[in-house]
Symmetry: C2
Subunit: 148 residues, 2 copies
Amino acid sequence: MATAELAVTISDAEWRVMRIVWTLKETDSRTIIDLLEQQHDWKPATIKTLIGRLVKKGALATTKQGRQFIYTPLIPEQAAMDTALTNEISQMCAMHRGTAIAHVLEDTEMSRADVQNLIDVLAKKLPTAPESVHCDCLPDGCEGSCAE
Amino acid sequence: MATAELAVTISDAEWRVMRIVWTLKETDSRTIIDLLEQQHDWKPATIKTLIGRLVKKGALATTKQGRQFIYTPLIPEQAAMDTALTNEISQMCAMHRGTAIAHVLEDTEMSRADVQNLIDVLAKKLPTAPESVHCDCLPDGCEGSCAE
DNA sequence: AGGTTACGTTTACAGTTGTAAACTCAAGTC
DNA sequence: GACTTGAGTTTACAACTGTAAACGTAACCT
């Protein structure tokens, strides 16, 4: 069953740990602790707990290396990002998602290439985009009169 | 001090309740319970709990109306959506946000008007977009060599 | 070999969340 | 007026989170 396990849930604090490991590709706890102590007011013990939970959750793999472990990501960063964002968006009113994304885009700094890429993605969607997307906050049948 | 209180945190389950109230603008618990029982496998008691928590959190206002209450949103839907999405995005690697957003856009159905609006927003950003945005997963100083 | 380090594990503990039963009381009914 | 009904409140309880101390033990140094 391949890599799978994209169902792993990563909490906010754990996310900080994963970012370190994703960036370094593989590291030991010493490095993770040193780096995170610089970014946060976390005690080493706290960081150890987070690492432990991530291993138990199956988000990090361990490879014994002498007295310690080498940690590597078991789930790909981009997949985790996509899943987290998609979940967040999915729980919102379908009719208002576009506006929310517009606001986020305004506040998010992105490289020119990324901006251009987004424009391309959208341009491709434009022709097939529906005339309107209705509010889906009420059960099927109940017209979500979100208008106005 | 005005409306404020945008700092309120709304959990996933609570979000479902808010969507009902946001859509109806104002309702009683009976309506909320009936609608949510149709969409989920929640018992009335569960929904009552969620409503109670939202009131305590300051997300819903109550107005006594005879034996019961009329509930109205104390925080605007769009603001809640923007905040939730922005928070989610902020916790991710700055360098990879663009790609994540691209993937979400691909999977999100939006009206033609929304798509066009997003294109406009992006077109406006394009000229001032930086050549590149660096990985910010490691503490300042540590070059996040996220490349490749 | 004994002491020191330090890594990973165990235990702790309060707050939030999902889920729900039980209870209190005022309003409506007969 | 007694009885029923239903809205809101209290209590419950396990899992997940944020935060961290304490501990066991293998490796390292002298």
